[in-house]
């Protein structure tokens, strides 16, 4: 009996597992071919799409979006419909539920897949700028947006803004008793009855960094120590803060305008206050759009940026449930939110505030016992 021949033959004979393996391998390959990396150079694509833009066909662009998908997806679909450019998007989850897109962009830095990054708050954009992920681009549509919302070096441009607000439960708190300043939250009246989102993440991390930049370390530390002593509840995200207030688990909280508006549209018993009108003002957080350095389709990316910075997009974001405040003068604002001119935005250098994030995160871990 020749052993070696048998050994060579039997694998052919046993037909059970091989097809499975083969099918699995084939499906992998098919999946790989499904969505091939564009190999044509961008210049060709760009020329083709600019030539075709009027005929409404051609080209593609990839955007990573951290603005809530329910708000951003319709805008991108509209752009597709208008231009015929195929927009491939990656959306982010709420910051506290998973590690988001900024990490993907950082990890992909050596071989970028995205053309544009659309952020819903300043911190991540500025982190990416610092890490060399972004490229400068001065969009013609940035004109008319106040200078404070634009990067002097053109690595980002702000548009449609949200604001931090105090949210309160209207069944439990009368409007006249609602806190008018974030510093009121340290009042014993709100002991155990106030919630904020984890200040290490998302727009709350921007808010606390802005407070440190504005107040200085000593006063800011003091404020957070008092908050802690007042048994402030730390929720994993701004939407959770809103839900806790709406359910009446706590009476007041700090969150974002769009979060409150979603509850208002859902007829929940909440209302919002733009705090510190007579004091330091309230941090305003623009969306920020940036071009990615070494993007696969830079020209298509620039055109998409132009669109996002148009008054038209600001208008639809204002009219959507996102209730974002337009930054172009003359664009009609959202119905539940006062116009930019009527409340007091904190005077902010976004770069300076963002620089504080790391240090402030470490401080608050200790002060708030996170």
């Amino acid at each position: 009996m020749n052993n070696s021949i048998l050994r060579l033959m039997h694998p052919v004979r046993s037909k059970r597992l091989l097809p499975v393996l083969f099918a699995a391998f084939l499906s992998l390959v098919l999946a790989a071919c499904n969505n091939p990396q564009p190999t044509t150079s961008d210049a060709n694509n760009a020329n083709a799409s600019s030539a075709n833009i009027t005929s409404g066909a051609g080209g593609e662009v990839t955007i990573y979006v951290s603005t809530d998908r329910v708000f951003s997806e319709p805008i991108l679909r509209e752009y597709e419909r208008k231009t015929g450019v195929r927009v491939s998007a990656v959306y982010d989850t709420e910051e506290t539920k998973s590690t988001g897109l900024a990490n993907k962009l950082l990890a992909e830095k050596n071989r970028p897949q995205a053309d544009v990054f659309w952020s819903n708050e300043p911190v991540r954009t500025l982190v990416l700028k610092k890490n060399g992920v972004l490229a400068p681009y001065d969009s013609p549509n940035a004109e008319g947006i106040p200078a404070i919302f634009q990067d002097p070096e053109n690595y980002w441009t702000g548009f449609s803004a949200r604001s931090r607000v105090i949210v309160y439960n209207t069944n439990l708190v009368k409007p006249e008793d609602a806190p008018k300043s974030i510093f009121d939250l340290t009042d014993p009246k709100w002991k155990g009855q106030a919630a904020i989102a984890d200040p290490r993440f998302g727009s709350t991390s921007f808010h606390v960094a802005a407070l440190y930049a504005e107040l200085g370390d000593e006063r800011a530390d003091e404020f957070f120590r008092k908050l802690k002593a007042n048994d402030v509840k730390i929720a994993p995200g701004n939407s959770v803060v809103r839900d806790m207030v709406a359910r009446g688990e706590v009476k007041v909280g700090l969150t974002d305008t769009d979060d409150v508006n979603v509850a208002l549209e859902d007829k929940q018993p909440v209302a919002m206050v733009f705090p510190d009108h007579d004091g330091i003002g309230v941090p305003v957080m623009p969306n920020m759009v940036s071009l990615i350095a070494n993007a696969p389709h830079p020209e298509a990316g620039k055109r998409l940026i132009n669109y996002l910075l148009s008054p038209e997009v600001e208008r639809s974001l204002a009219q959507s449930e996102a209730v974002q405040i337009p930054l172009h003068a003359g664009v009609e604002g959202p119905k539940n939110i006062p116009a930019l001119a009527s409340f007091k935005p904190m005077t902010l250098d976004y770069g300076k505030a963002a620089d504080r994030v790391e240090d402030v995160t470490r401080r608050l871990q200790l002060i708030l016992g996170l």
């Binding site: 050994r7 039997h10 694998p11 059970r16 790989a32 491939s88 989850t93 590690t99 990490n103 950082l106």
Partner: protein
């Protein structure tokens, strides 16, 4: 095997053995795939953690690790959360698995499907449903008029209860598969001289203990890795530190360094579990003997009552709460209508992923079972440690390795990378689950087959795999559920365009009211249940055969 290195000219037999055997080739390929997909991304990230911004070697990320009391306290709490969850889930799941395998219970198939439900609902959403029930303004509080449970809800105990009730199905499935494999003849022989209770404690339980322990270890690691549920219940855990390093500080090196204590905890708990359960193992031939049947007799009412309580508390109450919260059925139908592509992607990617995982894990489990005892122990610990690596670390590592030009890049920019991520995350646990199945198959059957002239491949596919059947099916089901629900790594590697259902759900729920979150969670749970029910029906005949009924 050693013969292949000899350069002996001689007869045909020796020439034959100079070629590597199909066994060697296949096991080496399986081992290499495992290293490439599961180990290299982690090594890559470890490398990142030792390199400074200037590209030089640095120990900076590890310098301050665990030096402050705060971090040590967090790590202690994480460990408590893991151990508590593993114990609770095993206390619920293992008896259930034993009952499903051995007791004379009615409607077992339906029970099994119902009891798997907590595993397919995202834990975060289950925690949310518990807040809606037991929170200070929850359903119970409004029913009773007081909020005596709310302090409990927002506590470590609450987190353990939520995670324990999410994860017990894992222990149940593993225990059932193991109990089915125990050789009925042993038990029958013992029953001649001993009471059923004694047989259960002295024969059956010791034989299934390693599998129960392996499942408990997997549950421990899953609870350790969880930060969504503790975050919602305001329990500070160490895992959030890793997450903070990535998501707040954008410092990959620090993130990896912070994951190391978690790996160490998993390793230590793994070693302790090994020491406790030991290697009580008896080879079993294909199980044709029913063995010990647990006749419930007068305990029947008690067991059924307990089952009813478990079903009510862990399945019906959360589902009803979510359904009430979701409100109108239009919410679910509208969620369903727009999620077609995501559902299709999720089901096909999870099916491909689970199949590849089980194929690879079957070979790895075989290699591990047939290696020396000491090596076996080390491999188990390697599997559990790899599984403990946070999904973010795996995701970033995969991007670093696969986002290149050529074939790797072609895979990275396609949905195939999601399957790669599934493999990277879940091959180790499937291998851990399958290793026990192989070990119970006596080497003697393979030797007999070889003497009879069968090749190893033929022996493996015709003798070894059929005997692993129950284990393969439960490993596939668990892998499918895990792949389907994977979020952490998928979110990082998924290419632009519509991705998987959990990614869709999580990108949508950011700002939506909890009613829509509930609707989407119910949708996600039902989508993953449908194929499992179909599979259950399809396997009906075999399952009854295997249980010896």
């Amino acid at each position: 095997m050693v013969a292949s290195n000899r350069t002996v000219k001689g007869n045909a037999l020796q020439l034959g053995s100079a070629l590597p055997s199909s066994r060697t080739i296949i096991l080496v390929v399986a081992g290499a795939s495992f290293v490439l997909v599961c180990v290299v991304p982690i090594l890559y990230m470890l490398g990142v953690s030792f390199i400074s911004a200037d590209g030089l070697f640095t120990f900076e990320n590890y310098r301050l690790l665990l030096l402050d009391a705060r971090q040590r306290e967090l790590l202690g709490r994480s460990t408590l959360l893991g151990v508590g969850t593993a114990l609770l889930a095993t206390a619920i799941g293992a008896p259930l698995g034993l009952l499903l395998a051995r007791a004379d219970l009615p409607l077992k198939r339906m029970l099994r499907i119902l009891l798997v439900i907590p595993l397919v609902v995202p834990p975060y959403v289950l925690a949310l449903s518990w807040i809606l029930v037991t929170g200070s303004t929850g359903f119970l509080a409004s029913l009773i008029g007081g909020s005596f449970l709310s302090a409990w809800t927002y506590s470590l105990t609450g987190a353990i209860l939520v995670l324990g009730t999410c994860l017990y199905p894992l222990s149940m499935l593993a225990t059932e598969a193991a109990a089915r494999r125990v050789n009925g003849r042993l038990e029958e022989a013992a029953l001649l001289v001993a009471s059923p209770r004694r047989v259960l404690w002295r024969i059956t339980l010791p034989l299934i203990a390693p599998t129960v322990a392996a499942a408990a270890l997997i549950i421990f690691v899953l609870a350790l890795a969880e930060f969504g549920v503790p975050g919602l219940l305001r329990v500070r855990v160490f895992t959030t530190e890793v997450f903070t390093a990535f998501s707040a500080l954008y410092d990959f090196g620090a993130g990896v360094a912070l994951a190391v204590p978690l790996l160490a905890v998993a390793l230590i708990v793994g070693i302790i579990a090994k020491l406790i359960t030991g290697e009580r193992l008896l080879a079993a031939r294909r199980n044709l003997h029913p063995g010990l049947i647990l006749r419930l007799g007068r305990w029947r009412a008690v067991v059924l009552g307990l089952l009813a309580i478990i079903l009510t508390v862990t399945v019906i109450l959360p589902l009803v709460t979510l359904a009430v919260e979701a409100g109108k059925p239009e919410r679910i139908t509208s969620a369903l209508r727009s999620s077609g592509d995501a559902i299709h992607n999720s089901l096909s990617l999870a099916a491909i992923g689970a199949t590849l995982i089980v194929v690879l894990a079957a070979f790895l489990g075989y290699a591990r079972a047939r290696s020396g005892a000491r090596l076996r122990g080390l491999v188990d610990l390697l599997f559990i440690t790899i599984f403990a690596v946070p999904s973010t670390v795996v995701g970033v590592g995969l991007i670093g390795l696969w986002n290149r030009s050529g074939l790797l890049g072609a895979i990275y920019t396609s949905q195939a990378i999601i399957v790669v991520a599934y493999l990277a995350r879940f091959v180790p646990i499937a291998a851990l689950m399958l290793a026990a199945s192989v070990r119970q198959i006596p080497v003697s059957v393979e030797e007999a087959a070889e003497v009879g002239g069968a090749s190893w491949w033929r022996t493996f596919t015709r003798i070894v795999l059929p005997q692993m059947r129950a284990g393969l099916i439960s490993a596939w089901v668990v892998s499918f559920i895990f792949c389907f629900g994977e979020l952490g790594a998928t979110l990082l590697v998924a290419p632009p365009g519509e991705s998987t259902l959990p990614v869709r759900v999580y990108t949508i729920i950011a700002n939506t009211p909890s009613s829509e979150v509930a609707a989407l969670a119910l949708l996600q749970a039902s989508v993953v249940l449908v194929p499992l029910v179909i599979l259950g029906l399809f396997l009906r005949g075999n399952a009854t055969k295997a249980s010896g009924a």
